[in-house]
């Protein structure tokens, strides 16, 4: 049976890589590898997952230097010829232990970017008319499938440089809500994403868009926010 040599990060912010040998299987995912290590070799290994099918956004890790969702990443796609893997926690987030990161700041930034729905209609009002082919509905649809896995955030150079930058996921969420005709807190949202750690801090390196496992383009969302904030400023609405 062929084996994989897997280096796994053990520790918190301080720590080191420990090597494990894992049997190679067909259609094996990175999450399968980590689970094998935890169940058979190292019961104290900390990692996080839930759905195993690319829906929950819990299992993202750094695999051979690149942030990925591990449940939908096949070993064959990343291990290379020698069958070596290096698995680390996501970058740009505090490490709780081993492969589990503290996602609180990541989600706090969604709140800071007003990345939550706020409508004013009640059950007594009529439905909002959303034309599916409208520019707004298309922009919303383009970014709505985010599962909050943190891959874009871990891949973002600007987040690495300045810890207060809201980051691609929160800004993408703000952009989808800005295009939601049912939401009525857009002036607050435009202000929230225009601060000195908001959308204007993006350098358009496009790592978020390249790495997003859901093929969302946060870069395009951030560009949309830049246009929206400039329009609002020129019209005196900010």
């Amino acid at each position: 049976m062929s084996m994989l040599r897997v280096s796994v990060w053990r520790g918190t912010e301080e720590g080191n890589y420990v090597d494990y040998d894992v049997p190679r299987q067909t259609s094996q995912t990175i999450l399968d590898v980590v689970t094998y290590i935890q169940r058979k070799l190292e019961p104290t290994l900390a990692y996080r997952y839930a759905c195993r099918v690319g829906m929950c956004g819990s299992c993202a890790m750094t695999v051979n230097g690149v942030a990925r969702w591990t449940c939908r990443t096949h070993v064959s796609a990343v291990a290379g010829e020698g069958g070596r893997l290096q698995i680390a926690p996501l970058a740009n987030l505090p490490v709780i232990r081993d492969l589990a990161t503290d996602m609180r700041e990541f989600f706090n930034k969604w709140t800071r970017a007003k990345g939550y729905f706020k409508g004013s209609r009640t059950r007594h009002d009529d439905f909002a008319a959303v034309i599916p082919t409208s520019t707004q509905a298309r922009a919303l649809q383009a970014g709505i499938e985010c599962i909050g896995c943190g891959v874009c955030y871990a891949s973002c150079d600007v987040v690495g440089w300045r810890a207060d930058y809201l980051g691609p996921a929160a800004l993408n969420r703000a952009w989808t809500l800005l295009n939601d005709v049912r939401d009525d807190s857009n002036s607050e949202r435009v202000r929230a994403v225009s601060g000195d750690a908001g959308c204007h801090s993006c350098h358009t390196h496009i790592s978020c868009t390249e790495r997003c496992p859901k093929h969302i383009a946060p870069t395009a969302s951030i560009a949309g926010l830049k246009r929206a904030t400039v329009n609002a400023t020129l019209k005196g609405r900010v």
Partner: protein
């Protein structure tokens, strides 16, 4: 927060507009340099063309102004990202640097115009 948002958005817009101006100015400037040197023009011949030329003066005044807007805003971002330096002292120093760029640029433009 509102003031913050407005200031950051305006700075970003100024950065982009000045970049667009610079993109054109730098190309014109480079083509002029290459044309002048490869064409074998002497310093006297170049000065003969620029002296009293309001067109060239206007071009270089615009160029200098675009630089004076673009550079301090760019340095401000570098100050935040590389040094974690924020605050009013930084902004005033960078504004002063912008003034220095204007003075140096205008004196250079005046030297070939007058």
């Amino acid at each position: 927060m509102t003031l913050h948002a407005r200031r950051e958005t305006r700075l970003w817009l100024a950065q982009r507009v000045s970049a667009a101006v610079l993109a054109i100015c730098v190309i014109v400037h480079l083509i002029t340099i290459i044309y002048a040197t490869r064409g074998g023009l002497s310093a006297e011949e170049i000065l003969a063309r620029t002296r009293g030329s309001t067109g060239w003066l206007a071009f270089y005044v615009l160029f200098v102004l675009a630089v004076a807007v673009h550079v301090p805003i760019g340095l401000r971002t570098i100050a935040i990202e590389w040094l974690g330096w924020t605050g009013l002292t930084r902004d005033w120093l960078l504004a002063a640097f912008g003034v220095v760029l204007i003075v140096m640029g205008f004196s250079a433009a005046a030297a070939v115009f007058l």
